[in-house]
Symmetry: C2
Subunit: 360 residues, 2 copies
């Protein structure tokens, strides 16, 4: 291994990330970090590379290739945030006797959805959030789902409600999502939240978890956003669109690349910050990336891999091997944005409980 | 006068614009036009220029300069739309005995606001929409404004409500605008409408009038949007942001240029379609425009003019004299987007009345 992907290893990761304080307003989560890092100055980063002391599993994978980009360690940032949330929950319980509660509604028996719900439950337990669950059979009626949403809307011990998607085909997703009380919409998918996100001078009650996680990573790693060119690849309601709105709110100059874009490579190459949420394995090649750009890869795409015991492995939208020779910083897949999404869900649930009970 | 700014003068304007049908869904207002016009092929346009038979006042102004760009005649398009609205209102009255009603709330005595309100009233009368008005003194309380909004919300003869902005400084604009029933928010400023505009698979009840007018002009003039690069200059809640969302919904690749953008000229020059809503006179120079681009100028900026009886004249954000040598088509100021805004307000009011009374 000739060089490391890490640059700030002289300071332990925990120290580098401190002080982290979980805040409720997305537009205000800029953090001070102990070592100022210049993300767009490749030479400065290269000159400081040295091996890191302790490695997570995902980081170890990243180190098997020769790279120059700083690896944005979502797992470590997420852990730090979860630790802070756990501390806040203790403080809240001690202070006003309230424990935040998150309700998840799962309809049907999709294996992937069951896994996601189980992971969310585990993450809640780990930080002290109480989980509530409604498991409904695949052939439930819309009315049954709506009845459960209404029950959680009315339950004062529930501060966040999420409906695991996708719903069975016979259900109207829009109607069901709109039934979640805006005060408990911790997924931030309600159009009222999206509208407030889009508008100047308005703030949403909740920001969708994955794009919020992307912004947290940028802020934590000290990436300047104001005035920078940012390209978002993909325009889904749950990632691409809100990510673009958040970047725009942070005063980046945004462009949105999608399936109808004729020259995605050319446009992406103009970006100082790339957030890719296209769901296409290895879509973003090294040639798409401006030297020194920061790359946030939201994609989690399975590709065949005979050497893996499962027969496949997970890769992002970005061709990692190529990208880390060009970018100044990049999130790995897995271990980048993924862990942040769940941390943001917990953060949104805590914020909701604080807001409902007016606990500062 | 060596050349004309008009190209399709072999067919009368009315025929060229027909069939115009006022539709309630923005995403569906693509129209068929009798002469297909290729907006990005400058040579094709240049070869067909010839004098037009009848000219509006604003068009005559445009013709005093030597140009090659087609002038997008907002006044003519708006007239056509208003004629259609008038026809629909007669049909509705004859069919179900309902006349659409628009209520305007004016607080204070700003001269410009009074003029706008008077013009809206006149425009309503011209198409057969009944106007309602609440004129409140400058020192009214928020509660008085909210009481008037509540009254119009409950009044079944009112199908659209608009609060003339700006409100006096002591009032909370957000709180007051949010009080307008979402079903009567013909301005389309409610965050729920903006959220639906941003989201795929959702449709707002109303699209804000000025950006809707911009899109109508593009559609009427047969400008292809899908896959094109579109740059929106300015990111206000009432024009720039919703314009970008509309272009994105129409499958353009959008970029947003604003006060924090470091290289606005370079980015704007990549655009096939430019919508400028910056409010800065002559901001967009000829050098900012890609040859053949279509330019929609939303700005209405007063500049000193000793030769004018008023001491000033109105210009757009775009340096018109330079732009029309480069662009393939451009809206004049005045006579471009301006007349469209009020036509769209009438259109939204009609749509609202149709929706409330389920009249097809």
């Amino acid at each position: 291994m000739a060089s490391s992907v890490f640059s700030d290893s002289s300071s332990p990761a925990a120290a580098r990330l401190l002080p982290l304080s979980v805040r409720s307003r997305t537009s205000q989560f800029q953090r001070s970090i102990s070592i100022a890092w210049r993300p767009l100055d490749l030479s400065a980063i290269r000159s400081t590379v040295s091996p890191r002391r302790s490695l997570s599993a995902s980081a170890a994978v990243a180190m098997t290739t020769e790279t120059s980009a700083k690896v944005i360690d979502g797992k470590a940032v997420a852990k730090q945030i979860k630790d802070e949330i756990a501390g806040e929950i203790v403080r809240m319980k001690d202070g006003i006797g309230i424990v935040p509660g998150l309700a998840v509604i799962l309809v049907g028996s999709r294996k992937d959805s069951q896994t996601y719900v189980r992971n969310k439950k585990k993450a809640c337990e780990a930080v002290g959030i109480k989980s509530y669950e409604a498991n409904l059979p695949e052939d439930s009626t819309e009315e049954e789902v709506l009845k459960n949403i209404a029950r959680f809307n009315d339950d004062p011990s529930v501060h966040g409600i999420l409906v695991q998607l996708p719903l069975p085909r016979h259900m109207n997703e829009e109607k069901i999502l709109n039934a979640v009380s805006i005060e408990k919409d911790v997924d931030g998918f309600h159009p009222l939240n999206i509208g407030r996100l889009a508008m100047q001078g308005r703030d949403p009650l909740f920001v969708p978890c994955t794009p919020k996680g992307c912004m947290e990573l940028l802020h934590t790693y000290g990436v300047e956003i104001k005035g920078k060119r940012a390209v978002v690849i993909g325009r889904s309601n749950i990632v691409g669109m809100p990510a673009a709105l958040l970047l725009q709110k942070a005063n980046a100059t945004i462009s949105m690349v999608h399936s109808n874009t004729r020259n995605p490579e050319e446009i992406t190459r103009q970006a100082d910050i790339i957030i890719s949420a296209a769901g296409v394995a290895n879509l973003v090649r090294g040639s798409w990336i401006k030297p020194g750009a920061v790359v946030i890869d939201v994609g989690i795409n399975p590709v065949d891999d005979a050497e893996s015991p499962r027969g496949y492995r997970l890769v992002g939208d970005v061709c990692y091997e190529e990208a880390c020779k060009v970018a100044s910083a990049i999130t790995p897949v897995p271990g980048g944005v993924g862990p942040m999404t769940i941390a943001m869900l917990l953060s949104n649930t805590l914020s909701s409980a604080k807001r409902i009970h007016d606990f500062k």
